[in-house]
């Protein structure tokens, strides 16, 4: 592969304008670059040219006839005319022919105003009846008739092919095709299967690319036409990819009508996944909390803000004076904005006076932060999402990217399927990415260190390491080399079940690539050996010199939309914003001065430790902002008991979640669509969140609520708006030093961004590691805390699935999603299913030492024999009733990924 630099530049003239572009650019794209919009119906920058509509015809000087500009590359000295009388007349005729096949129904079409066909017909004054009006065909059932998400109207389809192409090229779902002959031709799934049963992943891309009103959002029908809607650009509130999207709101109804995105948006190029596209029903949901609630005699009663805030301030004040500030703890939220998180931790530290503040990142990436901080000095994704596309080798381990970070998976698939990247997937399950992989290493859950160490032993033995890099930029190599020496591929095969030869091959591919990028997620971190796993990946990258350069690196994919930001802004018990240690007296002094109060110099409690401290009686009050530990924490029974037991529980929430139901006071807060602020995505990009609609009832912004509680407790906090909070953040947080709302307005900036002139940082550790030298760690394989035995013969693993998010509080309110993914399930191998006489869809009871749940069986070969997989999003089959809360000794992350379990057939619970 030639890089961008290997490409020649050419100069040409378009409509008299001089243009210089790369040689493989098409005339249409080159024109776009200089603001000339050549009419087109079947072109989209994300898919290869189709070239069927012919609307984009142009005249190239010296050439007979006209050329199709969307698939003709530029050439040196070319002179192009994009429109003259002849071309305009042809365009008019083409449009009239298309219109004769298209049921013109602009008066009742939702796409009115957002329809390219309509725009062009108007521009060229095309006569819709010149070639006769199309015959009205009787409305027949088609593949979308039953879909809650998409509606396809063959009578409006102009057969441009973009939807089929997009589905094939971008999500690579290949759900769609043209079916039938001639005038019968239409878009369909295979055999006309209903969309929810097809391979469609509900990305909504086919709607986005459709140039007419043929493919539309089902839920948007009749809710407002383009001109009635206001688009607000903001950031998706689900995962850490941080896709930019537009909420299309009808101001009359104050409802989100649909979600769109544009190809120019970073980092998603206008692509979305099902959650961003169809998962917004929760925003205006009738179950939203609208007034403060106070629990009296076990029942919630509506209360005024004054009353609720006074009660909280009084109770917290009493507890603080009686048992000390350390008997109060706060759970901040990776769903909330940076500004909310900053104010939250400031409230806990300055107003309450304790460092007992944490959030759910503990449950997913604490081991990443701990591991990478030790190895490199900074615990974030080293490289940018966009760089993945150009990596030569991509090593995905413990990340089911297609489901947990779908839009990043698009980049990985593009790299592997189109750009020749060698993809290695190490995952116990047969995940979607395996289809694109050169190698699939199916390691036993919990054996990652053995696998990675074996790869390193091969690299060292075969002398494939980057000696210069190791020498110049790292330390402690010998200790690491000593530790991995014993792990030969043969020994690793016994532990991991991955054939030794495959381990060797993986090691060679990874080590020989000029740029190799490691991508990992919860499959690596959620173990009692989580920190070890991360350290061994850092070792592997350093050993081959794959850090500190473009398209390489060690890239943890963060789960929640703003988990990166919540960590960055100090919603952690041991650091202030910007990872500045609470135990460092100098830093403490800085914050004392900035916040004008005394601060505790003692690290606080982590999430799971808080729960244990409540049990032990040392924590008496818990303040939760948008967290749902009653579903997300391991060993649910224990967590729920603790929430019941704690003397005083406050919950700031958008819904009365499972956890909020335990609270003494519930405060209604805003969801992302009603807020101004920022989120930081997984590639460290700080992006603007913008208010798109007005909040329900008396709900208020999280930071405002916190300021009022804090002020009532005697520590005054007041900000005019979120932008002012960001200015304060920048003043105390060096890595955010140059961030302000003005600067991030257009595209966001990636930290570290040290001052107002700093351009932000695309990839980390260039030239020097944050900690100086990169540090190798001697890591040896350890067994998971719980291994299968006679009574519990299976290994149970938990995780995510595409259609739901986290505890499901938000996604489960979407009809489109509910149709595709209505209920929880457990995956098991078909041979095991046979052994236990379990059939597809049967109700089964899954049990571990901690509890049991009833769920449905999904039988197949996605998991290997001997183990089970359950998504954790479903309250009616809560997987976390089962999981182990044994902790990683360093990062204190619980072992969600491995525990011993048993399965048996159950009688269906008829109520469900």
């Amino acid at each position: 592969m030639e890089g961008d630099t290997g490409m020649k530049e050419v100069s040409l003239e378009i409509d008299g304008k001089k243009v210089t572009v790369q040689e493989d650019t098409t005339i249409l794209e080159a024109s776009k670059g200089v603001g000339i919009d050549i009419p087109h119906l079947c072109y989209d920058p994300r898919v290869p040219p189709i070239g069927t509509c012919r609307l984009c015809l142009v005249q190239i000087e010296g050439q007979a006839g006209l050329s199709i500009s969307c698939n003709t590359p530029v050439a040196e000295g070319m002179r192009v005319c994009t429109e003259n009388e002849e071309i305009a007349a042809i365009r008019k005729t083409i449009l009239e022919l298309i219109l004769s096949q298209h049921r013109v129904a602009c008066t009742s079409c939702d796409q009115e105003g957002a329809c390219k066909l309509q725009d062009y017909a108007y521009r060229y004054q095309a006569d819709e009846a010149r070639f006769g009006l199309p015959e009205r065909r009787p409305t027949e059932r088609n593949y979308t008739t039953k879909s809650e998400a998409i509606l396809y109207d063959p009578d409006k389809c102009i057969l441009c092919g973009l939807c089929v192409k997009y589905c094939e090229e971008v999500p690579m779902a290949e759900a769609l095709t043209f079916a039938g002959m001639l005038d019968e031709m239409r878009v369909s799934t295979a055999f006309g299967t209903d969309l929810p049963e097809s391979p469609c992943v509900l990305c909504g891309g086919c709607i986005a690319v459709c140039p007419s009103g043929a493919m539309v959002d089902r839920a948007a029908i009749g809710k407002g036409r383009e001109k009635d809607l206001i688009k607000t650009r903001t950031v998706c509130a689900y995962c850490g990819v941080g896709c930019q999207l537009d909420l299309n709101v009808n101001p009359r109804t104050n409802k989100i009508v649909r979600v769109t995105s544009e190809p120019e948006y970073i980092p998603n190029r206008g692509n979305l996944c099902v959650k961003g596209k169809f998962g917004m029903d929760f925003v205006g949901h009738p179950d939203r909390l609208t007034t403060p609630l106070i629990k009296r005699n076990g029942k919630f009663e509506q209360a005024s803000w004054e009353e609720a805030i006074k009660l909280i301030a009084d109770r917290l004040g009493q507890i603080k004076s009686k048992t000390g500030p350390d008997s109060i703890a706060g759970l901040s939220s990776a769903k909330c904005t940076n500004e909310d998180n900053y104010v939250f931790q400031k409230f806990v530290r300055a107003a309450v006076g304790t460092n007992n503040v944490d959030h759910c990142a503990r449950l997913c990436h604490a081991s990443t932060v701990a591991g990478l901080a030790r190895a490199f000095g900074s615990g974030a994704m080293t490289n940018s999402i966009d760089e993945i596309r150009n990596a030569e080798c991509i090593f995905v381990i413990g990340s089911n990217t297609s489901e947990a970070h779908p839009v990043i998976a698009l980049h990985i698939k593009e790299a592997a399927a189109r750009n020749g990247a060698k993809l290695i997937v190490a995952d116990p399950r047969d995940i979607e990415l395996v289809r694109f992989a050169k190698l699939h290493l199916q390691q036993q859950p919990g054996t990652d260190v053995a696998l990675v160490n074996a790869m390193m032993s091969v690299i060292i033995n075969e002398n494939l390491l980057d000696k210069d890099f190791v020498k110049a930029r790292t330390e402690n190599f010998e200790a690491m080399a000593e530790a991995v020496k014993e792990m030969t591929p043969e020994k690793a095969e016994k532990i991991t079940t991955v054939p030794a030869e495959k381990i060797r091959e993986a090691a060679r591919i990874y080590a020989k690539a000029k740029t190799a990028s490691i991508i990992f997620s919860m499959g690596i971190t959620q173990h009692t050996t989580g920190t070890d796993n991360v350290l061994s990946l850092a070792n592997l990258a350093m050993l081959t010199g794959n850090v500190g350069k473009e398209s390489a690196g060690v890239n943890p994919l963060r789960g929640q939309n703003n988990v990166q930001g919540a960590c960055d802004l100090g919603a952690l018990p041991n650091v202030y914003p910007g990872y500045q240690s609470v135990e460092d007296p100098q830093i403490q002094a800085k914050f004392k001065k900035a916040w004008k109060t005394n601060l505790s110099g003692k690290s606080g409690l982590t999430v799971v430790e808080m729960i244990h401290a409540i049990e032990a009686g040392s924590v008496k009050a818990l303040y939760m902002m948008g967290e749902n530990p009653a579903l997300s924490d391991p060993n649910l029974n224990r967590t729920r008991k603790a929430l019941e037991k704690v003397d005083f529980l406050v919950s700031q929430e958008v819904f009365l979640s499972e956890s909020a139901q335990f609270a003494d006071v519930v405060l209604p807060s805003l969801c992302f669509a009603e807020k101004d602020g920022t989120f930081t995505n997984t590639e460290r990009r700080i992006q603007r969140v913008r208010k798109a609609l007005s909040p329900p009832g008396e709900a208020r912004d999280d930071w405002q609520i916190l300021c009022d509680v804090s002020t009532a407790m005697g520590y005054a906090m007041r900000y005019e708006n979120a932008s002012e909070i960001m200015d304060e953040i920048a003043s105390v947080t060096p890595i955010y030093g140059g961030i302000s709302f003005d600067r991030i307005e257009p595209v966001g900036l990636q930290w570290p961004c040290l001052d107002k002139d700093h351009p932000g940082t695309k990839y980390l550790h260039k030239g020097e590691f944050k900690r100086g030298k990169g540090k190798f760690h001697a890591v040896r394989f350890r067994e998971p805390a719980e291994t299968p035995d006679k009574k519990f013969p299976f290994i149970l693993s938990t995780g995510r699935q595409l259609y739901q998010f986290h505890t499901g509080t938000l996604t489960r309110k979407s009809r489109a999603i509910d149709q595709k993914s209505p209920t929880g399930y457990v995956e098991l191998h078909h041979e095991d299913a046979e052994k236990y006489s379990i059939g597809e869809g049967d109700f089964v009871e899954v049990s571990t030492r901690r509890g049991k749940v009833i769920t449905k069986a999904s039988v197949g070969s996605r998991v290997a024999k001997g183990w089970l997989f359950m998504p954790f999003h479903f309250a009616e089959g809560p997987a976390n009733m089962l999981t182990n809360d044994a902790l990683d000794p360093i990062a204190k992350i619980p072992e969600f990924k491995v525990c011993a379990a048993a399965i048996k057939k159950a009688e269906p619970d008829l109520e469900r």
Binding site: E168, A179, M181, P199, E827, G860, R862
Partner: protein
């Protein structure tokens, strides 16, 4: 969920095994020949067989379906021993085509696109049979019958058992 082993095979896949076995390294270009052979072996293109083709070759089911419906030669429904094709082109239409279609429906007791229960006939209508000078026209297997009227239909069909 996609964690299923596949559509339950209610059809014998032995013939398919042979077809796929005879093609080394199946790729997208082999699709039309594969479908032709499948149709030859099974008489039509059964959905479960096509799904299995998709699973085994990695060619998307949607793509297979697109190809199978694009060519007139392929049938997705079981096909009778004889195919009756009736023209619904303009020339035939003005010279009494609709009456012919009606007569065939009566004689066979099925709608266009369907097959008689005894698998004797499949009835199809087509855009034009290319012999407009004979209008109205029908074709049974490879035989043309032109200048028809509704009364002749029964006796024509009786020749095919």
């Amino acid at each position: 969920m996609s964690n299923t082993v596949g559509t339950e095979a209610c059809l014998d896949t032995k013939a398919l095994d042979e077809i796929l076995g005879s093609i080394p390294d199946v790729g997208g270009d082999d699709l039309v020949p594969i479908l032709q052979q499948v149709q030859k072996a099974y008489g039509y293109l059964p959905k479960p067989i096509l799904m299995t083709v998709s699973e085994r070759t990695g060619i998307a089911a949607a793509r297979i379906f697109g190809v199978a419906t694009f060519y007139e030669q392929f049938h997705l429904e079981p096909h009778g021993r004889h195919t009756v094709r009736c023209c619904r082109g303009t020339a035939c239409h003005v010279r009494g085509g609709p009456g012919i279609i009606e007569a065939i429906k009566q004689a066979l007791g099925v709608e266009p696109g369907e097959t008689t229960e005894d698998m004797r006939f499949t009835f199809e209508t087509v855009a034009c049979l290319g012999t407009c000078f004979l209008a109205p026209v029908i074709m049974v297997n490879n035989d043309y019958f032109g200048n028809l009227n509704a009364r002749k239909i029964k006796s024509i069909l009786e020749r095919y058992t």
